[in-house]
Symmetry: C2
Subunit: 206 residues, 2 copies
């Protein structure tokens, strides 16, 4: 009698299972993925480059949600703005993946290609090469902080009679408090970035 | 024969054990705390207001690391700057606590008192009441995003021959890439906040 066909174990299913575990637990292990897929742990390792390889597959899945075309928009500040909104939405869908992905080196070719386009867009806009990574990282930090905040409750503080000023400030905040804070941070970032472009140009030559 | 004295089970030990679990796993459970302290789960519940109560104790422990006096500095932008640096350092020590604490309502009296002082400082500086929470939240998002980034490897991208622009931009970044991005984001935030103060004053009356 033929053995039942083993379930298809491809990189896509491994990635999707890993992402689901991270979404639930903030973590995953390769044996957990194997159990969820009903296969031996060793079989999973045949398809991926270790645990680090699974992290990169998960990174690719989340980053696929970022609208790549946003970076092509004109002018550059509209491009960054649209990219930031779509980036925040992608990670807001998987807030528990943020610490894992933020603290593991980026190796996924598709994601590196995405960074390459972001760097290209900033260089095209006229930013000095040395400003590009601080700008991108500062923007990512505010995006990812805001994505975590979007996963927070709307009523994030429970003021008491001892905190009347906090209560007053909270009372002026309408629905969408996380959006208001994100918009403020994004506006602050973009106006600062504009001043870097208006500044004196880099001295040429070594 | 006298039974051995049961280990002292106070809120401080529960908090410290909870924080240690969160630092290691990004999560904790009350039974885990009980096991770590060698007591019954029910005994832990006698000392705290459920799991939510433990989260607030953990929040107090982390927030104790924030220099409260920073907020008293003059002028207000120096106060926010020092507060932000100390806030980032506190959470950089416990990056895995960030998602848990960012997505649970703040109830700890000491932490609410800290927010009360931050709101008071911004109101004293002349910020409109309606701007206070968006400002504080935007600043916290960039602080916490940067704290996670500080826990990331110094070499966060592994560029390939397919990403020459990324490789070039990375080559210009010296040591302390996370600090450079944080300083940029903080400078951007503070200059934007200054423009809110310089703007037209609020119309008076309802």
């Amino acid at each position: 009698m033929a053995r039942p066909r083993t379930p298809l174990l491809d990189r896509e299913r491994i990635a999707a299972t890993g992402l689901q575990l991270v979404a639930e637990q903030g973590e995953f292990s390769v044996p957990q993925i194997a159990r969820a897929l009903g296969v031996q742990t060793g079989s999973v390792y045949h398809h991926v480059d270790g645990r680090a390889g699974v992290i990169e597959l998960i990174r690719e899945l989340v980053c696929e949600l970022i609208t790549d075309e946003a970076l092509a928009a004109d002018p550059w500040d509209r491009a960054l703005e649209e990219w930031a909104r779509s980036y925040r939405a992608a990670f807001a869908a998987y807030p528990r993946a943020i610490p894992l992905l933020m603290t593991t080196p980026v190796r996924a070719p598709k994601v590196l290609a995405h960074y390459e386009r972001a760097v290209a867009r900033l260089r095209e806009a006229g930013f000095a090469e040395r400003d590009v990574m601080p700008l991108l990282t500062a923007l990512e930090n505010l995006i990812l902080g805001s994505a975590l905040d979007l996963a927070a409750p709307e009523a994030m503080w429970e003021p008491s009679p001892e905190t009347p000023l906090l209560a007053g400030a909270l009372a002026t905040v309408g629905p969408g408090r996380a959006d208001a804070a994100f918009e403020l941070a994004l506006a602050a970032f973009l106006s600062y970035a504009r001043t870097l472009l208006d500044g004196p140009s880099e001295p040429s030559g070594p």
